[in-house]
Amino acid sequence: MAQQATSQQTAAGPEVHDAHHPSPAGYVRIAAILAVLTAMEVSLFYIEVGPAFIPAMIGLMSVKFTLVVAEFMHLKYDTKLYRRVMLLGLLTALGVYGIVLATFSSVRLEF
């Protein structure tokens, strides 16, 4: 009975799931974008861009992060509760460790 309930539940699941999630070709396209972004990151390491280096690196990292979380982890398509839970952890970490770094770091990032 539980198996049947599960089957009935997820019988409706795949159609909804497929309607909202990228297709396999879509995932490959996203992976190609991620590969290009990685190549740009590595290229930046060898090109002299001066003070723009750190912001550019952080920017590229953030875009890659967002793409994986939104598309591969399906946060863009799933219930907002998962997004809130993830953001709670992420923003708490950024806040707490940002304060730690600001308090104890003798290295200042200059833009």
Binding site: M1, A2, Q3, A5, T6, S7, Q9, T10, A11, G13, P14, H17, D18, H21, S23, P24, Y27, V28, I30, A31, L34, A35, T38, E41, V42, L44, F45, F53, I54, M57, I58, L60, M61, K64, F65, V68, V69, E71, F72, M73, H74, T79, L81, Y82, V85, M86, L88, G89, L90, T92, A93, L94, V96, Y97, V100, L101, F104, S105, S106, V107
Partner: protein
Amino acid sequence: MQAAHETTLGIDHRKLAIWVFLGSEFLFFGAFISTFLLYVDNTPEGLGVELFDIPFTSISSFVLLMSSLTMVLAHSAHVRRDMRRARLWILATALQGAVFIGGQAFEFTTFVREGMGLTTSPFSGAFFVLTGFHGAHVTIGIIMLLSLWKLIGIGRVTPMEDVKTEIVGLYWHFVDIIWIIIFTVVYQIPAG
């Protein structure tokens, strides 16, 4: 046995649980990343970021990134009830993870040979603890993937239970996004 989806929130408790866990893991890795950043200059001359081989680490980073693709393709195949393809992509993901771990092992042994060990300096300690814990997470992920591959093969995970592949996938994508952060913040920015 209680039906799987009769929950008060109308969502799968297991999926909510993995997201709560992953949210807490940001705090876990954030501690090690910020410790590394605090100690990034605290090392003898020549035994710091100068040892990093960015081209080599770029390749292993790319491998891990592509393993996220094969993982999501595995889940997509499971949703479509194509279990043969799901198993194929799960195995591909595990193999790429193993390649990444192999790269990490090579990198660590190179650093040790060059004179930078776990206790050489605060920098090296912070670096090895951070990347070591990440490697341990990847290894656990590989074990989960191989277990899933086997369980699907013997019918213990059925075509209707795609949420199980999704949960393993969420964990795997998380170790990938942590490496996205580590590669930039730990390797490229300090060495740049």
